[in-house]
Amino acid sequence: MEPLLSILIGVLVAASVYLMLARNLMRFLFGLILLSNAANLAIFVSGRMTAGAPPLVPDGLDEPVGVVANALPQALVLTAIVIGFGLFAFALILAVRAYRSLGTLNTDEMRVAEPKEQG
């Protein structure tokens, strides 16, 4: 399972880099969301996969018995997903505002805040 997911992470990163190299802001944002998912998967795989062993504490005991799945990466991924969701929502709204006020999504044409071209 781990090698498969690792390859998947690689594919996601490659796709996201390809998308982020585009001039279009929307493609960049799609690349960004792919990259953040790749990062989440990387954390998940880093915690080692344990199939079919939920980290549950049996009745009357203080800790789970035997080998159970690592719960920490899932908590980390959950936090990262929530934060990433908030930031991505902001970035999308920013893109909409940018299109409305600048009239373009082509990042090469966004030069309002840059110095005027000489000559």
Binding site: L32, S36, G47, L76, L87, A91, L94, A95, A98
Partner: protein, 518 residues
């Protein structure tokens, strides 16, 4: 429960909530000032405690150390929290005049306080994932502050700022994941011990490089600084002052923390890269500034070149070099925030920020001219101002290591800094205003709130410059703590955490960097 560690964090959040509830009233700005003043007191208490007791640590929710979230304050953290509180108070006062009612009702003061909380949290946390969370808190607040005006310029700068910073945080997150996979812990003190047992040290270096890139983007180091000059000149002056003072320094702090505490396994490799990054950062920053004509764009590029000096201190990695880096960090926050605040006053007086289109400040407002000269000369490194001592220590440290080229670059960049400062001086202050305006300070509405923070920060620069001894001594103690992580680790994990003696760090880096250099 260690209240003194959590108080500098809780205060800005509480202030933010009150500010948000009262955002439609004029009193919101005053609450921001009051909250920042209380924050300064809390940071002072923390500083006094750290000076007395050494490294202090507290476990949030009373979970024992490697499992729960730890807050740690060593001397570096404590001084960064203190300087953050000072900057926050100065900017909060400045904002009384600088921020209009519309921005206030959009939640400016609440966002500002959350930004301060995020920065403080990043300085205090002892947990890597928690550091990521504080970075995000800081980031989302800075996004809001950057585009709060909603003009074309702000949106344009905001897109670049948001895009590049998001990429850097994701890279940071991925690095955290991989490091966790190698060590099974996220607590920084625990990491410092566990990385020694990692079998695949080469993989550890790869992870270290991911962190270096991620923090490098935050710190605006070469070659990943492009977001900074694209964005920092667009928001209101109080916002860009707090950005310029604090945000990039969080990146530098994170670099200093991780590359002294955790990633010191292959100093010959990682710190040599940092050395070249530092040199290129200094040079590109100062050359970029020479080409600009906007008051804030010149200053923005100078942030980059000054970041180079701090990274240089870390890269040389001798006790003296780290003294210089810590001293530089503290001095630079005060000076740079002050220059941006003065830029704001000058724009109000002259009606522009392009230095070629304004002028006459020296003749009509000589007091402002004096206030500008202090931080400007300090930035360039004139004795006896604070920047002189900071540069002196770093150049001395590189000479001690035989890094002649590096020392030469550092000095040359200092000279070129003077060029930019004299450009601002000659154009904005010395020559008469092209439109014949006489920018009189006495005619400026709300000038008390604008001038008090500027005077306060200028006095602070003078004090550091004229009495450098206690500050250098402090920086020395702090660099000793950075190089010998024993105190940090035992404060977090308990006395018996270190079973094996920590290798003597002083001997390794000097020879290795020397070899590569030759």
């Amino acid at each position: 429960m260690s209240w003194y560690l959590s108080l500098p964090l809780i205060l800005p959040f509480v202030t933010a909530i009150i500010c948000y509830l009262l955002r439609d009233r004029a009193i919101g700005a005053w609450i921001s000032v009051a909250g920042s003043a209380l924050g300064l007191v809390a940071a002072g208490v923390l500083m006094a405690l750290v000076l007395d007791h050494g490294v202090v640590a507290g476990q949030m929710g009373n979970w024992p150390a490697p499992f729960g979230i730890t807050l740690v304050a060593d001397l570096l953290s404590a001084v960064m929290v203190l300087i953050t509180a000072i900057t926050a108070l100065a900017v909060a006062i400045y904002a009384l005049s600088d921020v209009n009612a519309r921005h206030g009702s959009l939640g400016y003061h609440a966002l500002f306080q959350i930004l301060i909380a995020g920065v403080t949290g990043a300085f205090l946390t002892g947990d890597l994932f928690n550091l990521y969370v504080w970075f995000e808190v800081m980031l989302i607040a800075s996004f809001g502050l950057l585009i709060i005006n909603g003009g074309k310029e702000q949106i344009d700068g905001g897109v670049k700022y948001v895009a590049l910073n998001l990429v850097s945080t994701i890279l940071f997150l991925m690095g955290i994941g991989l490091l966790y996979g190698q060590t099974g812990t996220l607590n920084m003190a625990d990491l410092a011990l566990k990385v020694q047992d990692v079998e695949n040290q080469a993989l550890l270096t790869v992870i270290a490089m991911m962190f270096m890139v991620a923090f490098g983007v935050k710190a605006a180091a070469f070659p990943v600084f492009f977001w900074l000059p694209a964005a920092y000149h667009t928001p209101s002056f109080s916002v860009s002052a707090v950005f310029a003072g604090l945000l990039t320094k969080v990146g530098v702090y994170a670099l200093m923390r991780m590359f002294t505490l955790v990633f010191d396994h292959d100093i010959g490799y990682t710190h040599t890269i940092l050395l070249w990054v530092a040199c290129f950062t200094m040079v590109t920053g100062v050359l970029g500034a020479a080409a600009q004509s906007d008051f804030r764009k010149i200053l923005s590029f100078h942030i980059i070149s000054q970041i180079g000096y701090m990274i240089l201190g870390l890269a040389i990695y001798t006790p003296l070099a780290l003294v210089g880096a810590v001293f530089y960090l503290v001095h630079h926050i005060i000076v740079k925030a002050n220059l941006f605040l003065i830029g704001g006053i000058s724009q109000r007086l002259t009606g522009g920020s392009d230095v070629y289109k304004i002028g006459g400040l020296y003749k009509s407002s000589p007091f402002l001219a004096v206030l500008f000269l202090i931080p400007a000369f300090s930035l360039a490194g004139f004795p006896p101002l604070s920047g002189f001592w900071a540069k002196y220590v770093i150049v001395k440290a590189s000479l001690d290591e035989g890094l002649w080229v590096v020392a030469f670059i550092a000095l040359a960049v200092g000279l070129m800094t003077i060029y930019s400062m004299t450009k601002i001086w000659a154009e904005a202050f010395w020559k008469p205003h092209p439109d014949g305006i006489e920018p009189k300070l006495s005619a400026l509405p709300g000038r008390a709130a604008l001038l008090i923070p500027v005077i306060f920060l200028a006095v602070l620069t003078m004090v550091i410059g004229l009495m450098p001894d206690p500050f250098v001594e402090f920086a020395t103690r702090s660099s000793v703590q950075l190089l010998d992580s024993t105190a940090y680790i035992t404060a977090v994990l308990g006395e018996d955490a270190i079973a094996v003696p920590v290798p003597d760090l002083d001997d390794i880096p000097t020879t290795e960097i020397l070899e590569v250099e030759q």
